[in-house]
């Protein structure tokens, strides 16, 4: 039997505010346990939460960027459940009037664009962190509430994905949109971006969705893809045996690459949502919404298309450039100064990215500036330095932030185009390599390459290669 795999994703992204959603505690990552908490985020009796405006506006911005409808009225609800990482025994979330509904996001797989619908985008608070001691037989867990109350954006897709390559593109595109709009830093290793997948199978050609299984504990994009592949096979085997798939929640085990039941549908939680009486509703008027819309930059897919069309870049090059907003911005700055898109694209996607990787540089704080890279491209074209030497100059520029001309002067790297000087060197090389001259005269073409190489070596790569070539041919007599 052939089945179609039906996949939906729930995404949690931590918003880039400096304080929590309902109190002024810091959201800084990696500090000592329970040092960023107060009566509000500890859920002590009698406290009153007050909404962080920036968090709310970030959520609006994401909802707009994901093409959601934003209702004039939105409010918050209590989601009740007991768990030791939840100090109030309820989570403030949204249920009845989500901030954004019925949106979509376009993704691109093998250059074909498809549209994934977004069910809703809403704002909620993060829970604390549970630590399970490693000592054998420990009968306790530990709780750190520093994360409790950190603002989270939840993005729920419709089950519109069918293959893992679509899921991968969805995750990457969503991450880029959140980075482009600057609402989240999306650091997966710090838990700023997390995914949960829901998967069901249906017979090809039918409309009825099978029972849905939710997978949690997916710590990386790779785990998401592996868990989906595993789950599709597991469900197929169940169906092929003539059984039905249980509606349940499963936990992914990253080490053993398999999943196990966490709870069945019967055990599923009864959250008893009701409107949060401690918070007032939020009304969003046209003016406010427009102001938020105006802060949204050109989004990745649109920018990629513009790069392909305006700068005649390949799909591949354009994709590399838009991958990080900061690089795409750098590229555009360069092109504004000097209209050589292909050259800048090569410098950025090859040399710059390699230097960043090798020297572990922070691309958000690069020392080299667009006008300096433009100046470098300019002096290559003028013939002041060769493209080989330029790589050396670039490496120095990215490490020190110096202008290319300064580097060339300091290191005496300017190209030698003085014919008299080159001629002198050529005469010297010819006289010390009689064998190569013989070979060349016998018709061995690569003997000339060898001689050019010797001249370049003598000049530490600085001789103008064209002049060397021409003069050499003249000297050995053609």
């Amino acid at each position: 039997m052939t089945y179609e795999v039906v996949i939906g994703l729930e995404t949690h992204a931590e918003l880039a505010t400096i304080t929590k959603l309902f109190c002024g505690c810091s959201t800084k990552f990696g500090v000592d346990p329970n040092t960023q908490v107060c009566p509000v985020c500890l859920g002590m009796p009698g406290v009153l939460p007050v909404m962080n405006k920036k968090a709310f506006e970030y959520a609006m911005k994401a909802a707009v960027a994901l093409n959601c409808k934003i209702d004039e009225f939105t409010n918050f609800d209590r989601k009740s459940y007991y768990y030791p990482d939840l100090p109030k025994n309820y989570q403030i979330s949204q249920n009845y009037h989500n901030l954004g509904v019925d949106g979509y996001m376009d993704i691109s797989v093998n250059d074909a664009v498809s549209r994934i619908r977004i069910h809703n985008v809403h704002l909620e608070e993060e829970a604390g962190k549970l630590i399970h001691p490693e000592e054998v037989g420990a009968d306790y867990s530990l709780v750190d509430f520093n994360r409790a109350g950190v603002p989270l954006l939840e993005i729920v897709s419709y089950p519109d994905m069918r293959r893992v390559d679509e899921v991968e593109s969805y995750m990457q595109t969503l991450r880029k949109i959140l980075l482009y709009t600057e609402v989240s830093d999306c650091k997966m290793q710090e838990g700023s971006l997390r995914f949960e997948a829901s998967i069901s199978l249906r017979k090809k050609g039918t409309d009825k969705l099978g029972n849905r299984v939710e997978i949690k504990n997916l710590n990386s994009m790779k785990s998401v893809l592996k868990a989906i592949e595993y789950e599709a096979i597991r469900q197929r085997d169940v169906l092929d045996r003539g059984e039905t798939v249980d509606r349940e929640t499963r936990l992914w085990d990253e080490v053993n690459e398999k999943s196990a039941r966490m709870r069945s549908k019967e055990e599923s939680q009864d959250y008893r949502y009701f409107p949060e009486p401690d918070l007032l509703p939020v009304l969003i008027d046209e003016k406010w919404l427009r102001a938020i819309k105006d802060t949204i930059p050109e989004l990745p897919l649109v920018r990629r298309q513009r790069f392909i069309e305006s700068f005649a870049l390949s799909e591949y090059d354009a994709s590399l450039l838009i991958d990080e907003k900061i690089l795409a911005d750098f590229f555009e700055e360069c092109v504004k100064i000097l209209n050589r898109p292909k050259a800048f694209c090569n410098w950025i996607t090859n040399d710059l990215l390699r230097e960043v990787k090798d020297r572990k540089l922070d691309i958000y704080h690069l020392k080299i500036k667009p006008k300096q890279l433009a100046a470098l491209v300019e002096i290559i074209e003028k013939g002041t330095i060769s493209s080989t030497i330029a790589k050396e100059v670039f490496s120095e520029m990215i490490q020190t932030g110096k202008d290319p001309k300064t580097v060339v002067e300091e290191k005496k790297l300017a190209q030698i185009s003085d014919e008299g000087l080159i001629e002198e060197i050529i005469i010297k090389i010819i006289s010390s390599n009689p064998d190569a001259i013989e070979d060349y005269k016998k018709g061995k073409k690569n003997a000339l390459t060898f001689l050019v190489g010797q001249v370049m070596k003598e000049t530490k790569g600085k001789a103008n290669p064209k002049i060397v070539n021409d003069l050499l041919k003249e000297k050995v007599g053609i």
């Binding site: 107060c38 920036k54 530990l142 709780v143």
Partner: protein, 95 residues
């Protein structure tokens, strides 16, 4: 509306409270009569009435994203029934 013992047990479980047999009996009667009383409201026609969750006309109350001091660790842990180092200590949670 009649609530049965199973329902009482379910609600008690959701609220993490343990009830005695007598309490269960008592609450079956009490909750049933409360619900019957509330049910009278269902006889009213509310088709064109929007649900109202807020009686206050105020909306859009925000704070700026500005740091305020957190409280000291001893104060954080002072009410906790059990602690270990700088953590709250709770019965083992298995996932």
């Amino acid at each position: 509306m009649k609530i049965d013992k199973e329902e009482i047990e379910y609600i008690a479980n959701l609220s993490r409270i343990r009830l005695t047999e007598q309490e269960r009996e008592l609450f079956v009667h009490q909750l049933s009569s409360i619900l019957s009383y509330i049910e009278k409201l269902n006889t009213l026609d509310t088709e064109n009435v929007k649900p109202m969750a807020y009686t206050n006309k105020v909306s859009n109350v925000f704070r700026e994203d500005e740091l305020e001091p957190s409280i000291s660790l001893p104060d954080v842990l002072i009410n906790a029934p059990a602690t270990k180092g700088c953590f709250f200590k709770v019965p083992k949670v298995i996932e």
